[in-house]
């Protein structure tokens, strides 16, 4: 195969690189067993140790969950930019990272900050897959992926679910 092929396999050096990147994000963000995962097959870089999380009945808020369907893992460490359309342009509100479960530690918006409007979550897939050691052609097919959606009613919570690989993505109103 040529240089432009990709592989989910990463050598141990690359896995250590991922681990270092994770430690830079704060050890508390890592799943239990993450260090052990550095010696496990690269197909599960972050380890799936976190059970699904029901948010039924919680107060109005915007939450997000990112799943890496390339590695069969959560999008741990993925950088996300949240922007809101102010009528003329997209204004960056915050930049966060997904924790070991693929979710930012806090809701993206809650309380007074949770308002109706047009929003964008930008997924930094280029940085994420580089940290994973994925061998991708450059420029990579997907790099910074905008997910645009609407909060119509600030009395109802919104959960944005995103599934991504280097070659495709989906997003939908989740639960």
């Amino acid at each position: 195969m040529k240089d432009d092929t990709i592989s989910p396999q990463a050598d141990s050096m690359q896995r250590r690189g991922v681990l270092r990147a994770g430690l830079l994000m704060g050890g508390a963000a890592l799943a239990p067993g993450f260090a052990a995962a550095a010696d496990a097959p690269a197909a599960a870089p972050a380890g799936l140790t976190v059970a699904p999380n029901s948010q039924a009945g919680v107060s109005p808020r915007l939450t997000v969950h990112a799943i890496d369907t390339f590695h069969g893992a959560t999008g741990a460490g993925l950088k996300l930019d949240l922007s809101r359309f102010d009528g003329e342009r997209w204004q960056l509100l915050k930049t966060v990272r997904a924790n070991a479960g693929g979710r930012p530690a806090e809701p993206l918006l809650i309380g007074d900050a949770y308002r109706s409007g047009r929003y964008e979550v930008l997924l930094h897939l280029d940085e994420y897959f580089a940290q994973m050691g994925a061998k991708l052609p450059q420029p990579s097919f997907l790099s910074k992926v905008p997910l645009r959606f609407v909060i119509q009613d600030a009395a109802q919570r919104v959960h944005l679910a995103a599934l991504f690989s280097p070659w495709g993505y989906s997003y939908y109103r989740g639960s």
Partner: protein, 119 residues
Amino acid sequence: MAGISTHVLDNFNGRPGAGMRIDFSAREKDGSWKLVKTMTTNADGRTDQPVLAPEAAAVGEYELSFHLGDFYERQGARLADPLFVDKVVPLRFAIFDAKQHYHVPMLCTPWSCSTYRGS
């Protein structure tokens, strides 16, 4: 054949996404997006002409913006809720080898979007 093509599938209705406006843009060296052309999908959910013809293909970043809002608003009475996806959904990707073809479908409903490098 090299170049770019797309295909809109309306998974809400289980049909090709006919009559949807798509704006095609290319990224300039300064990082800005330049509109190249605006197209409308045909009855099969495809564009009559290639999005980007083989002879025009070049390494770089491109954007297809799908006008889902207008598309679903025309079906108004059949929607129980307003759209969750934004009225215009941008899909950004790169050509890394101008000799390859890039088929980039858009699968959509009022509540979801999906895309991938297709064939």
